[in-house]
């Protein structure tokens, strides 16, 4: 798989309708993000011949989106593995470009989950072995994992809250973030309890929004307007679907996808300048920092203490404010990817890091289930 290193580059990224976008359909939000990404790349829909799109509300997402945009692709994929789908799509798109199945790939996602609140209908069959017990899904599944992490490693409520306060401090520097007012650890602890140990501030937002990225070969990328962002490494893994069947509630399959992504990219954890991980819940960031090698298993709680992942901390994490404070339209995976691209191109304004070269974007799907790790480089890293 190391042969895929740098086989494709991201040449455009865009978002649309982040936060509240009442009066817009899911497809209209998605199309807005596609337009923004194509404009960014200096391309038109007719240039796209590979389309990758999963959806919370319609199956056959790539068929729906292609018809809407008037694209007749040579290759498409609607694979649905939960919130990490867009990152998995990027990996598939890279393989499709490397093998000549398509030349210009579009990965897109959008949802009007906030504006449609209460009117989204799940298309998934209820789990007959879990649903009778009334877990508030997905929250309770992650809460159960958090209870185990606290039990085994002494992770505290305050350490979980640190993840939320750090995300909020980053969001304060992102004009696109949905919640930007200051948030304290006490605020998190005193918020409405949802599923112990979580309060509402341990949980991701429910927003509208869409995101899209454009991927092409490195050769073509150099003819386009923006500095290309080569994909240096990528890997996916999943070990379970329902939380009951997670082999160890404190270890995610990111501990498998991460090392393989590093190996493909030829980098180690010390080379990573910034980290964008899917923070559906505060425990996610802690467990992903462990599983991706930024600290030892069980030390994630202590690692994030004292503002260590907030602006000015020891590790740059979730600079857009994450799913906790920036946006979370049903599935968040494409947004850590887009934030990594923007940081590597220097687009991030007040929150921009100083000349980052290597970024990690990590997606999570299901109930700590599907894990996809991507390593991206700044222009010139291949």
């Amino acid at each position: 798989m190391t042969g895929l290193r740098g086989a494709a580059s991201i040449v455009g990224a865009g978002t649309y309708g982040l936060g509240e976008a009442p009066g817009l359909s899911e497809l209209e939000i998605t199309a807005g993000a596609v337009q923004a990404a194509l404009d960014d790349a200096g391309l038109r829909p007719s240039d796209v011949d590979g389309v990758f799109c999963a959806s919370m509300t319609f199956n056959m997402g790539s068929l729906t989106l292609c018809e809407y945009l008037g694209i007749a692709p040579k290759f498409s994929d609607s694979s649905m593995i939960g919130g990490s789908s867009s990152l998995a799509h990027l990996l598939t798109a890279m393989m499709a470009i490397a093998t000549g199945q398509c030349d210009v790939a579009l990965v897109a996602y959008g949802s009007n989950q906030r504006s449609m609140s209460g009117r989204l209908v799940s298309t998934s069959r209820p789990d007959p072995f879990e649903s009778p017990y009334g877990p508030r899904q997905p929250i309770t599944s992650y809460a159960l994992a958090a209870s185990r992490h606290m039990h085994e490693y002494g992770t505290t409520r305050e350490q979980l809250a640190e993840v939320a306060t750090a995300a909020r401090a980053w969001a304060a520097m992102n004009p696109d973030a949905f919640l930007r007012e200051p948030l304290s650890i006490k605020d998190v602890l005193n918020s409405r309890p949802i599923s112990d140990p979580f309060t509402v501030r341990d949980c991701c937002l429910v927003t509208d929004g869409g995101g899209a990225v454009i991927l092409t070969s490195p050769e073509r990328a150099h003819d386009l307007e923006r500095p290309p962002v080569p994909v240096l490494g990528g890997a996916m893994a999943h070990w379970h679907r329902a939380i009951t069947n997670m082999p160890d509630l404190t270890v995610t399959a990111a501990s498998d996808s991460g090392p393989r992504a590093y190996a493909m990219a030829g980098v180690s954890v010390d080379d990573i300048d910034l980290v964008q991980v899917y923070d559906a819940f505060t425990i996610n960031t802690i467990m992903f920092l462990e599983d991706l090698g930024f600290c030892a298993k069980g030390e994630g709680g202590a690692f994030v203490e004292d503002g260590a992942i907030a602006p000015g901390g020891r590790l740059v994490v979730n600079t857009n404010g994450g799913g906790l404070s920036c946006c979370h339209p049903g599935m968040y995976g494409i947004f850590p990817l887009i934030e990594a691209v923007r940081q590597l191109r220097g687009d991030c304004g007040e929150r921009q890091q100083s000349n980052p070269e290597i970024a990690l974007a990590h997606g999570n799907g299901g109930l700590f289930s599907s894990q996809v790790t991507l390593i991206l480089g700044a222009d010139g890293t291949i």
């Binding site: 072995f129 009778p132 309770t140 599923s195 112990d196 939380i243």
Partner: protein, 130 residues
């Protein structure tokens, strides 16, 4: 029904037994491990020689949460993952004690709750729980 097809399947058989008051686990005759939830193939070894055995009902709380609701929606309730003595883990509730005093490591005993539309396995603190 095709000649090569056996019915009811493992899922229906599990719920049929539960309706008869028995909490059954599958046992793989190839690798000797217990299986939950019931499946057509052993997830440990791929074996298809599976038999049903009645669960001992003894378990340990592996993880626990309290689902909180707005007062008008009802009181909070427990959701837990229970490690069964036979090896598998299942989602359930620990009942008869306040949901927030359920502790990881607590010994529990299975009970078939028939209060709802369908019978379901819940757990009570074990009699000899220390």
């Amino acid at each position: 029904m095709p000649a090569d097809t056996a019915a009811p399947g493992p899922e229906q058989a599990y719920f049929d037994a539960l309706a008869d008051g028995r909490f059954m686990l599958q046992h793989c005759d190839d690798c000797g491990r217990s299986i939950f939830y019931p499946r057509a193939l052993c997830p440990h070894c791929g074996g298809s020689e599976l038999s049903e055995r009645e669960a001992s009902g003894r378990g340990t709380v592996h993880a626990t949460s309290v689902v909180r609701r707005r007062p008008e929606q009802g009181p909070p309730y427990n959701v837990a993952l229970i490690d069964l003595e036979e090896g598998p883990r299942m989602m359930s509730r620990v009942e008869t004690i306040a949901p927030e005093v359920v502790r990881i490591g607590m010994a529990v005993t299975a009970v078939i709750d028939r209060s709802g539309d369908d019978p379901m396995v819940v757990f009570h603190p074990a009699e000899s729980s220390s």
